[in-house]
């Protein structure tokens, strides 16, 4: 199993450009998440999904869009990139279990995005 795979690893965008950050998981997890992490800071939730066809906003959704057409893939779209979107983006997946079972988040390697 590859786990959670994010592409690209690095990207430089010009202001106003658009791009899609790809995220795929091969663990058949229903829950997927997009976070951004600014330098030296914690994780902020952008969007999340509890299954194919279902997406919800997190705490910082402005300037981003997502789709979840399959269980495996959860792409994040940036429209009209702005310098404030310079950050490291992490995709994560999980399969929540109740009781004493672990409900851990599996993170991808991240995409380091710079908007200039």
């Amino acid at each position: 199993n590859a786990g959670v795979t994010q592409t690209p690893k690095f990207r430089i965008l010009k202001i106003g450009q658009s791009m899609t950050l790809q995220c795929a998981q091969d663990m058949n997890h229903n829950y997927m998440y997009w976070y951004r992490q600014d330098p030296g800071m914690g994780l902020k939730l952008i969007y999340y999904s509890v299954g194919a066809g279902i997406t919800d906003k997190g705490e910082v959704p402005n300037g981003y869009n997502v789709s979840r057409s399959t269980t495996e893939d959860f792409p994040l779209r940036l429209e009209l990139a702005a310098p404030s979107q310079t950050s490291v983006y992490f995709c994560a997946s999980s399969q929540p279990l109740t009781g004493t079972m672990n409900t851990e988040a599996f993170f991808g390697q991240g995409t380091r995005l710079t908007v200039v």
Binding site: Y31, Y33, G40, M41, G42, L43, L45, Y48, V50, D56, G58, F90, A92, S94, P96, T98, G99, T100, N102, T103, E104, A105, F106, F107, G108, Q109, G110
Partner: protein, 111 residues
């Protein structure tokens, strides 16, 4: 609120010294998880605690969940340079389908 507060924000220790980071919540936590993020890396799950007063150990790391399930701690005995990174606590809230992460404690270990 639903935040998990984590302290300290930074900790600098000499190699061999102990280190502790704390997570606190104003509400009862259903579970507490700990993650480690190496510099330039991604968060990696370490452990999950669910029971009141639970204590788990992983080599030099000791994880505790408070009796009231409102706080947790991660203690590292005799730190090594390989312990450098940021440690996050998190709660998974089943009714919101989301993880609530603490702000993290960045550990620096001087050799």
């Amino acid at each position: 609120g639903q935040q998990v507060m984590q302290i300290p924000q930074y900790q600098h220790v000499q190699e061999g010294e102990d280190f502790t980071t704390y997570c606190n919540s104003s509400t009862t936590l259903s579970n507490i998880q700990w993650y480690k993020q190496r510099p330039g890396g991604h968060p990696v799950f370490l452990i999950q605690l669910v029971k009141s007063g639970e204590v788990k150990k992983q080599k030099r790391l000791t994880f505790q969940f408070g009796e009231a399930k409102k706080n947790s701690s991660l203690h590292i005995t005799a730190t090594q340079t390989t312990d450098v990174g940021t440690y996050f606590c998190a709660e998974f809230k089943y009714n919101f389908n989301k993880f609530y992460f603490g702000s993290g404690t960045k550990l620096n270990v001087k050799p």
